[in-house]
């Protein structure tokens, strides 16, 4: 399972990548695989203040809908509007063009507290 080394993770299968002052959030390759064909993504409003662990987006496949939790607290500064037309990008490129939203974090230490790639790989092993 593809788990890039350049970012952090949550055990609910979101990834978070800090670039400058902004954290980009998406779902992992494992998560997109488990969900199957993504048919719709409900994204938060830009400007919304979110808490770490708060459900802020929903990724839907034909038969399931999964809440996506904010990995860090802060303000939503951008969402991936291209997913409205092309939700399949979440399946095709979960770590790139399939990103969901960006947060400007309130507290940088929260990012550091997320799982590193090795820890996330252990989570995946446990889920079997």
């Amino acid at each position: 399972m593809n788990v890039p080394a350049d970012r952090k993770y949550r055990n609910s299968h979101e990834w978070a990548k800090l670039e400058g002052e902004v954290v980009t959030v998406g779902i992992t390759d494992y998560a997109q695989h488990e969900l199957g064909d993504v048919v719709y993504v409900e994204l938060p409003e830009v400007g919304r203040e979110v808490e770490a662990g708060e459900a802020v987006a929903v990724v839907e496949s034909v038969k399931t809908a999964s809440d996506i939790y904010a990995p860090v607290s802060g303000e939503v500064v951008e969402v991936n509007g291209a997913l409205e037309e092309s939700p399949e990008r979440v399946n095709e490129d979960p770590y790139g063009e399939g990103w969901l939203f960006k947060i400007r974090p309130k507290d940088p230490s929260e990012y550091e507290g997320l799982l590193d790639p090795d820890a996330y790989l252990k989570v995946l092993e446990e889920e079997g």
Binding site: D37, V39, Y40, E60, V62, K63, P87, E88
Partner: protein
């Protein structure tokens, strides 16, 4: 039908010819809409409805019906849905009441009101409850009504602000948590124990002054009767928590035991499941709600009451939650259920329940012999949840059953069983049908293990084969438009 015709099976709109007429309504001659309504109120262009002759309408919907299976055409063991035979005398009974208007003087609707009153009495007796409303239009609507009644009760006792949580087992129907949310409650799931019944200890830990109600189905969605039900309801009542009974599975036990005696405070019924009224392709149904006396003041208005020899619609319930539907509910469905109860009587209802359990147990034994697994294999009642032999998917077997002429069971529910196949044969199926079904399912599994490609390709004989649901959800087309063609 040949394949080409299948491919082109038209929409009614595609049979339209400009200027063609079908059935003509009674007419008073030419009426000028602008003179009658004023020009500014008249629609600019007529709705684009099909223009079709009567025979074409008949052919269209007759041929369409042949692209549909129902209990009348096929064994339909859809778990939790109780797809029993719908006796046609029920339809004949309902036809006797179609010309009544809901606002006619109740003096001239005494037969309808008497029927409703009597039906409520029967349902109270069958469930062991003290009062009953017939107003809710479906099971989920009954759930909402019942939970709102519980909410009103807590509010009336000054505990409304405190009791904000509804407990729901993880095996519950999705409508339970959805209902609790709609009624303004927070939902908490309670895990099932290793035997498939509610984990009583886990549930007791959740009880407290913050809990308004517990919603349970008994037998539960695994088909198991919650044997510790008395202990459970007593513990809940001690904590001031109200017990809600989801009646989806009442068919298993009607006449044998009663939710009221188990300690439930509220019960909803699905007349379109247990009492043999037809599902109609998804409705209409009816979801009467029964309550114990302490909750009766909160029921929706109006209630049918008997005053002397007259039946009246009583609107005078000051603590009522209000109305949940216009008029008095799905009256035509009530007539059917009344007729069903009169046909069967207590003896017939008990026998129907027992035979539904017998059929389900027998079918379970047949399928186990074919290599199907039953993860919570207790003394299941009217339904059971099986898993396909290792390596097979429930979805594929469901599709293979369509080729064998059967409607598949409910699949992927309850959520606590992987690859779940929830099977409810009902009492109206013959022994040989169960045997043929088990053979067909066993054969599909055998062939599927030997040739996965074949199984994944099923169904081969239906009007359409597996449809592209991803496309339908990514780019839904929800209406016909002339331009699109």
């Amino acid at each position: 039908m040949d394949r080409r015709e299948d491919r082109a099976f038209p929409l009614i709109f595609e049979r339209s010819q400009k200027g063609r007429r079908g059935v003509r309504p009674p007419s008073v001659g030419d009426v000028d809409p602008e003179a009658l309504f004023g020009r500014e109120n008249v629609r600019e262009s007529p709705p684009r409805l099909p223009e079709v002759d009567e025979l074409s309408v008949v052919r269209h919907y007759t041929l369409l019906s042949r692209r549909q299976i129902g209990v009348d055409t096929s064994f339909y063991p859809l778990g939790s849905c109780t797809m029993k035979y719908n006796p046609r005398v029920l339809e004949a009974a309902a036809a006797r009441f179609t010309a009544l208007h809901p606002y006619q003087d109740p003096e001239t609707a005494q037969g309808a009101l008497e029927l409703m009153y009597e039906l409520a009495e029967y349902l109270k007796a069958i469930t062991g409850m003290d009062e009953m409303t017939l107003q809710p239009a479906a099971g989920a609507h009954g759930e909402l009504t019942g939970i709102l009644v519980i909410r009103a009760y807590h509010e009336d006792r000054g505990e409304g602000d405190r009791r904000r949580v509804v407990l729901v087992p993880d095996s519950a129907h999705g409508s339970n948590p959805a209902t609790a949310s709609m009624a303004g409650f927070e939902v908490r799931e309670v895990p099932s124990g290793p035997d498939g019944e509610v984990d009583t200890e886990a549930l007791k830990r959740e009880l407290g002054p913050h809990v308004a109600a517990i919603m349970l189905t008994n037998p539960n969605t695994l088909g198991l009767f919650e044997k510790r039900i008395l202990e459970l309801t007593e513990a809940a009542h001690q904590a001031g928590v109200q017990l809600y009974y989801d009646g989806a599975n009442l068919n298993a036990i009607m006449g044998w035991v009663r939710p009221g005696d188990m300690g439930f405070d509220v019960v909803h019924l699905n007349l379109h499941k247990t009492f043999a009224t037809p599902h109609g392709g998804g409705g209409p149904g009816s979801g009467p709600v029964g309550v114990k006396a302490h909750l009766a003041p909160y029921l929706p208005v109006p209630l049918v009451r008997k005053r002397g020899s007259a039946y009246v619609l009583d609107e005078d319930l000051p603590k009522s939650i209000g109305r949940v539907r216009s008029f008095y509910g799905n009256f035509g469905v009530l007539v059917r259920a009344y007729a069903y109860i009169r046909l069967l009587g207590l003896f017939g209802l008990k026998r129907a329940a027992a035979l539904s359990v017998l059929n389900a147990r027998y079918l379970k034994a047949l399928l186990k012999a074919k290599g199907f697994r039953v993860p919570y294999d207790g003394p299941t009642m009217h339904e059971f949840v099986a898993q396909p032999p290792e390596g097979l998917r429930a979805l594929d077997l469901a599709k293979a059953l369509l080729d064998a002429g059967f409607h598949p069971p409910t699949i992927y529910f309850p959520l606590i069983v992987k690859e779940a196949m929830m099977i409810e044969p009902t009492e109206t199926e013959a022994k040989e049908t169960l045997e043929r079904f088990a053979e067909a399912l066993g054969e599909a599994a055998r062939k599927g293990l030997a040739n996965p490609g074949w199984l994944e390709g099923t169904p081969y004989t239906t009007p359409v084969r597996r449809l592209d649901e991803v496309r339908a959800n990514r780019r839904p087309v929800l209406r016909w438009t002339p331009e699109a063609e």
